[in-house]
Subunit: 430 residues, 2 copies
């Protein structure tokens, strides 16, 4: 039966929005935003889109008008009453009122600041400059918009049944992963795939499929909108953004050296339990752990986000042991470039030695590899990073030099300050 | 947006009917029905369901109450005004008014006659006895109901996403066939899959996918309802039922020997062009062709429905040549147990030697092989045949003894009358 009103409403659609809500973003962005809002509200930060996959000429694929329309739409969004209620009233990691009233009031009044868009060499230069707590909220929606506009561009000439079969194949592919993951004992896995998803509707489908297919092995999603709509736990802690900006704001090498710990010191003032997760790799895990203060060893766990995950987790275990902590009570979160086979391997290797959790991203929400000619829907490595703070460039080293960013001379300075020696380069797929 | 009226209507559904219309049947049934209505309206015929796949214990799988509900629903159906208009006004094979006014008046008033249902040894004994033109219309809906109730029974405990992935896999499977068929030059293929379809909605999906995926290579469907709804050509001619009943009605061996030709003589009075298709295998192709009258050689083509299709087509070609006809102007229709590889092989072998067309059935509309544990959705060999006429048993031999039916002593008599020697048995998959 045709719903005439819905059809008429559809005909009036100016655009089919990719980002439907300000909370269609990763939970850790909101946690970090609240922290920044309290500790560094006036820092002036620039975020910039960086396409590491240069062969994907985004500006040739994605229409600029459509991109502007989607970005403008995001600027028209504000927190709805229901979203605000969910953030204020929800229990996150067993804790109520995680978001303070002053932060919520600010967030309720927020509209995202202007963007700056140019084309250069077949790529989009998309930047966001302004007060840190405002511009930081552009990261996830900007990525989601670019990823989905690219998907739409590739699919726009496909027939109705061809499209249905494309999604049928993608569903089959995801379900085969679910069937493999079911066999992994004691698995705990969350969706971290918002930023590089194929599309919003596809991420939502994937999450719901995981709920049915994995049951209690699936612990939640980093996407707040999907967590709210599907009654799931919102998952996340903190990211490289904090130490990167704190480091850029440091006025001396000594201050720079302490910046990553300063971040966690301030984090500790606000959060406890499952939110006390160390992300040690921003300027090299080895140096970070070697110089870490003793109080950090009492934190709940560590997230391994670059380099060899086996080496990262072994380093964490050794460090906890050296500090007199029992690694079996600690949580290791793997979140870098995962797919089912790696997840099963890592679980098998570390089960019983530490508590383990997985943040599964791009190859959960965007594994369209091999599904169209020329692999034109394969995911690619797009990021949106804080590139400057109060006029100074930011730097990231990580445990994989292929993920390093910043001006070469600053990278050298950071390597010297943080005592980073030779690092093994690994391919960055997504 | 929820369509409240539709939801309320849905809640009132007593059953979700499998057969939605009296024209949800094969086109050739209606053509044959009109012929029978003119030539043998008073013959008393019994149709019976025969499950050749004894290992599928249908009565253990399908609930008797549900089966009765579906069959009762079919008895409540009558031709709608739109269906009648479509049959009266449509052009079939380029000809208008294929259905005579007297037949249409009778059909418009028709309700299907009662059925007789019993359980025995884990199987359903389902029979229809009455005037031939009435009971013959039970064949296709009865098969479709049993096939779909079996599908529903297997799927009833599956989760929502599990089901979606099941269909995703089936869609992918069909589309891979479409992609292979696209590469077959000069292909002409029609859907003959109504009787053993997975479900009505699935057949409808398959047909529409073929329309998009194969374009002009897909020439139509045998299903009148789908042809009407999707604006396609209805395809079909005649079947074994006619010679089987004519043979059973014969009063002597001499009359029996002529029965298959008598059928075609009467058919010729009514039809020309593409409807003049010989189905030679009811009592063995070799004997049929050896004894065929000369006028049959002028007919448009021949349908190969049992035995080795290569041998059948070669026999047809040799026969036409012997009769001084040019085989390149003749049409060979392959319709037995086809799948894509066989279709491509047969097309490659006979292209340029005869005109070729394919009637693709079960493995188009019901290829759920390998998709659920225990292969519980794999198609199986269910038929509904005329088993008696005016109190005498019918007999079918065909070119594959595995497809023979009838009492053993009658089979022997028919073999003698039609001069059928040794036949090579071939497995009947569907």
């Amino acid at each position: 039966m045709v719903d005439i009103a819905a059809r008429v409403y559809d005909h009036r659609w100016k655009i089919d929005p990719i980002v439907r809500s300000l909370i269609d973003t990763d939970f850790y962005k909101l946690l970090m935003c609240q922290s920044v809002f309290r500790n560094r509200p006036e820092a002036n930060v620039t975020f910039s889109l960086i396409n590491r996959s240069k062969q994907i000429r985004l500006a040739d694929i994605v229409d600029e008008g459509e991109l502007r329309e989607q970005l403008d739409h995001i600027r028209s969004l504000s927190l709805t009453r229901g979203e605000s209620t969910w953030l204020r009233g929800n229990t996150f990691y067993g804790k109520r009122q995680m978001f303070r009233p002053d932060f919520m009031e600010w967030f309720e009044a927020l509209r995202l600041p202007p963007y700056h868009l140019e084309k250069r060499d077949g790529q989009y230069e998309l930047t966001f400059e302004g007060k840190w707590p405002e511009v930081m909220l552009w990261e996830i929606p900007a990525l989601a918009v670019l990823m989905e506009l690219r998907s739409r561009a590739v699919m726009q000439d496909m027939g109705r049944f061809e499209l249905q079969v494309l999604y049928a194949r993608a569903m089959t592919k995801l379900w085969e992963k679910v069937e493999k993951l079911r066999e992994v004992p004691n698995l705990r896995l969350a969706d971290f795939g918002t930023r590089r998803r194929h599309s919003f509707l596809w991420q939502d489908w994937c999450v719901r499929a995981m709920v049915e297919g994995l049951g209690s092995k699936f612990v939640g999603t980093s996407n707040c909108l999907i967590a709210k709509n599907r009654d799931l736990e919102a998952i996340g802690t903190n990211a490289h953004e904090l130490p990167m900006v704190y480091a850029a704001l440091a006025d001396s090498d000594a201050e720079l050296r302490q910046a990553p710990y300063r971040v966690l010191e301030e984090w500790q003032e606000e959060h406890d339990g499952n939110l006390r997760i160390i992300l040690p790799d921003t300027y090299g895990t080895a140096g970070f752990l070697a110089g870490a203060p003793d109080w950090l060893a009492s934190w709940t766990g560590m997230r391994i986000d670059s380099g060899s995950p086996e080496e990262g987790a072994e380093a964490a275990i050794a460090w906890w042991q050296a500090k007199g902590e029992d690694p079996r009570k600690k949580l290791v979160i793997f979140s870098d470039g995962l797919d089912v086979d790696r997840i099963a391997q890592l679980q098998a290797r570390f089960a019983g030695r530490v508590r383990i959790s997985f943040g599964w991203g791009t190859l959960m929400t965007n594994d369209f590899r091999g599904l169209v000619p020329g692999d034109a829907l394969a995911p690619f490595s797009l990021v949106c990073k804080a590139v400057a703070a109060n006029g100074r460039p930011t730097v990231k080293l990580s445990d994989n030099p292929s993920k390093a960013m910043g001006p070469p001379e600053e990278i050298e300075r950071y390597k010297r300050v943080f005592g980073v020696g030779h690092q093994k380069a690994m391919e960055v797929l997504v």
